[in-house]
């Protein structure tokens, strides 16, 4: 390419970029003017204002006198909690079922296939509500809670168990009934349990399919060679097949982890206060829908990029080790 046409190309690109930026600025300007002319509040100053609502489950201390920003942090941490636990558990379950689908035992193979088909074809929202109903309805009220082990109670308020406490020296913080509910210890609420169970069971079905095709994608000769070397089938699976399947499996797994994280926002239906739920409340109390939704999208995008980043790195390492 000669110099003149290169300059022209650069100019053209600058022009297009300029137009895009100008259009974006026009959109933002218009939005702000129109919001103002309609008396709708704008800007992110609301984040510093007092939230004035209470949150049922928090990993960090939270009171209604804290800010909206802190409320959103509480929501984000709850999202992360269920997403991380969910991804780990779904991976274990998914790999197990994926392997089971290739089992030489007819019953195991068929059960695994039925699981995958059934779970993938029922909408996740419905599954969450069913889990939640089951967990709520099958357990008794707190005053009639089942004592599972000393200090461990199951009721329709969830599972409470003792926690070690290190204030004033070591002792166990043992749950006990006060008025309506249990105080002390740690509670796994039906909402959290239903969300986690629902996400794990659902995502595992997809992971199982990925694992199955990953294993199927490892050349058949590899399994036969391992058998010829005298490796027992499960050792052949662990030492020869799975490490090679890993390379095929990791890229599509990234998609499943992202899906699980995003699906956790369905929790608004069953009352677990994750990011979406807190955003909803914030949005409605402040009326700043555009800001609140933008913020939430940025956070989910950040989570997605971070997850992909980590897994791509893992993938690159797995791919390198191979040959």
């Amino acid at each position: 390419m000669n110099n003149a046409s290169r300059v022209r190309l650069i100019l053209l690109q600058a022009l297009v970029l300029g137009a895009v930026v100008a259009f974006g600025a026009w959109l933002i300007h218009n939005t702000l003017t129109n919001l103002e002319s309609r008396g709708i509040a704008t800007g992110f100053a609301y984040l510093e204002r007092q939230a004035s609502f209470q949150i049922g489950e928090t990993l960090i201390a939270f009171a209604p006198t804290d800010t909206y920003l802190r409320a959103l942090m509480v929501g984000l941490l709850n999202t992360l909690e269920v997403a991380i636990l969910g991804c780990v558990l779904a991976t274990f379950l998914g790999v197990a079922i994926g392997i089971a689908r290739l089992s030489s035992n007819w019953l195991v193979r068929t059960l695994a296939a039925v699981y995958v088909e059934a779970v993938r074809n029922v909408p996740l929202l419905l599954q969450l509500i069913v889990w939640w109903d089951v967990l709520r309805v099958s357990a008794p009220a707190p005053r009639e809670a089942w004592l599972l082990m000393p200090g461990v109670f199951l009721s329709n308020r969830g599972l409470v168990f003792p926690l070690p406490s290190f204030t004033d020296g070591f002792h166990w913080d043992i749950p006990h009934l006060v008025g309506f509910n249990f105080a002390g210890g740690h509670t796994v609420t039906p909402e959290f349990a239903a969300l986690l169970a629902g996400l794990v069971v659902y995502t595992a079905a997809f992971i199982a399919e990925i694992v199955r095709s990953g294993i199927a994608g490892v050349a058949k000769g590899q399994g036969e060679a391992a058998a010829a070397l005298g490796l027992k089938p499960w050792l052949a699976m662990r030492l020869v097949i799975l490490p090679q399947a890993k390379r095929i499996v990791i890229p599509p797994m990234i998609g499943e982890y992202l899906a699980l994280t995003k699906n956790s926002s369905l929790a608004v239906a069953i009352g677990f206060p994750e990011l979406m739920s807190i955003t909803n409340t914030t949005l409605n109390q402040t009326g700043q829908a555009i800001e609140a939704i933008t913020l939430m999208m940025v956070v989910y995008l950040g989570l997605s990029l971070a997850t992909s980043g980590v897994l791509n790195w893992v993938n690159a390492r797995a791919a390198l080790q191979g040959r």
Partner: protein, 339 residues
């Protein structure tokens, strides 16, 4: 649900990004021949669709009265059901013309959300409902309770205020859909369910497996003036909504009902004559037909009729008039002069 939230936000963004705001609401309503109102997804007495899709309720009647005033027919209405969460974006984005959905009139909803509230069609207050077998007699005994609540409501905020000022703790269980909130509460997941007391009465009458197993506690922890809302910046439309409510109240005060209306047309009370358009002028001032007041009372009824039919002692909700009585009968219902 996710998707619909994102879509509404996108819609709002789109409506707002466009330079000019589509003309005044009245023109649009006349052109379309229909008034579009935001209502609940189903709260008996306020707005509820039956199997045939026919809506009834005090908020539904408010919407119908607006249509009667503007379009001459109470049936020229379209209802858009919305959870507490969805209602405000619907109004902001212009998808509905008026929000008639047991919505509390507050400062921030006018100042930050960009709305204006017409006079309340029901004065309420927040309360608690508990299972009778819990043996709770007062809200002051709710320390440590789990409380079921819908998000995006004043309820959520009042709860935090109430427990804080009374030095008690509680855990909110926040669920978006009313049906699911009710299911959770009646299944015993929460110790108490909190919302406007009219809402409690409605849930108990309509959704409780056995209404007698539940009690509404005596405490009223807030003021909840439930009122229709419109967007700021369209004063003509705001006036119409406002005076529709006043006309219904005034009709009751003057003893004009849907039954005696045609006789009342012959009344020589000047206020009645103005309201019913016998002496013209009021319709013109509102930029609508002179028979607006007549149509409201004829097709929907006066405030008292609407109250009795939907939430009064003869309805399943069995609510007393209480503070919703006329001002000259010890209540708060007071219409400004139609003149």
């Amino acid at each position: 649900m996710n998707l619909s939230r994102t879509l509404t936000a996108a819609l709002l963004a789109m409506a707002i990004v466009m330079p000019a705001w589509a003309g005044p609401t009245l023109d649009k309503v006349k052109k379309d021949g229909v008034v579009t109102c935001g209502v609940t997804t189903g709260l008996a007495g306020f707005s509820m669709a039956d199997r045939q899709g026919k809506y009834t309720g005090i908020d539904v009647d408010t919407c119908r009265a607006i249509a009667a005033a503007v379009l001459g027919s109470a049936d020229k209405v379209r209802f858009v059901p919305a959870t507490a969460q969805q209602r405000f974006t619907l109004l902001q984005s212009g998808e509905i013309d008026v929000l008639t959905r047991n919505t509390t009139w507050t400062l921030t909803r006018e100042g930050d959300l960009g709305f204006l509230f017409a006079p309340p069609n029901y004065f309420d207050g927040q309360g608690f409902m508990v299972a009778k077998k819990a043996g709770v007699k007062s809200a002051k005994e709710l320390d440590g309770a789990t409380v079921c609540v819908q998000p995006g409501t004043t309820t959520e905020l009042n709860l935090a205020d109430y427990f804080r000022t009374n030095k008690m703790t509680f855990k909110p269980l926040v669920i978006e859909k009313l049906d699911e909130v009710e299911n959770a509460f009646f299944a015993g997941r929460c110790d108490a369910y909190s919302t406007d007391r009219s809402g409690l009465a409605s849930s108990r009458a309509g959704k409780a497996p056995n209404p007698d197993d539940y009690v509404i506690l005596p405490e009223v922890i807030s003021k909840e003036p439930l009122a229709p809302a419109v967007r700021q910046g369209d004063d003509e439309w705001f006036d119409i909504v406002k005076w529709t409510i006043f006309a219904m109240i005034d009709a009751e005060e003057k003893g004009v009902t849907s039954k005696n209306l045609d006789d009342m047309k012959k009344s020589d009370d000047p206020e009645i004559q103005r309201m019913l358009g016998v002496v013209p002028g009021m319709g013109k001032s509102l930029h609508i037909g002179e028979d607006w007041g007549y149509n409201i009372v004829k097709q929907v009824g006066n405030y008292g009729e609407v109250f009795d039919r939907n939430v009064g002692p003869a309805s399943p909700l069995k609510l007393d008039r209480g503070i919703n009585a006329l001002w000259n009968k010890g209540g708060l219902m007071y219409a400004m002069p139609i003149r």
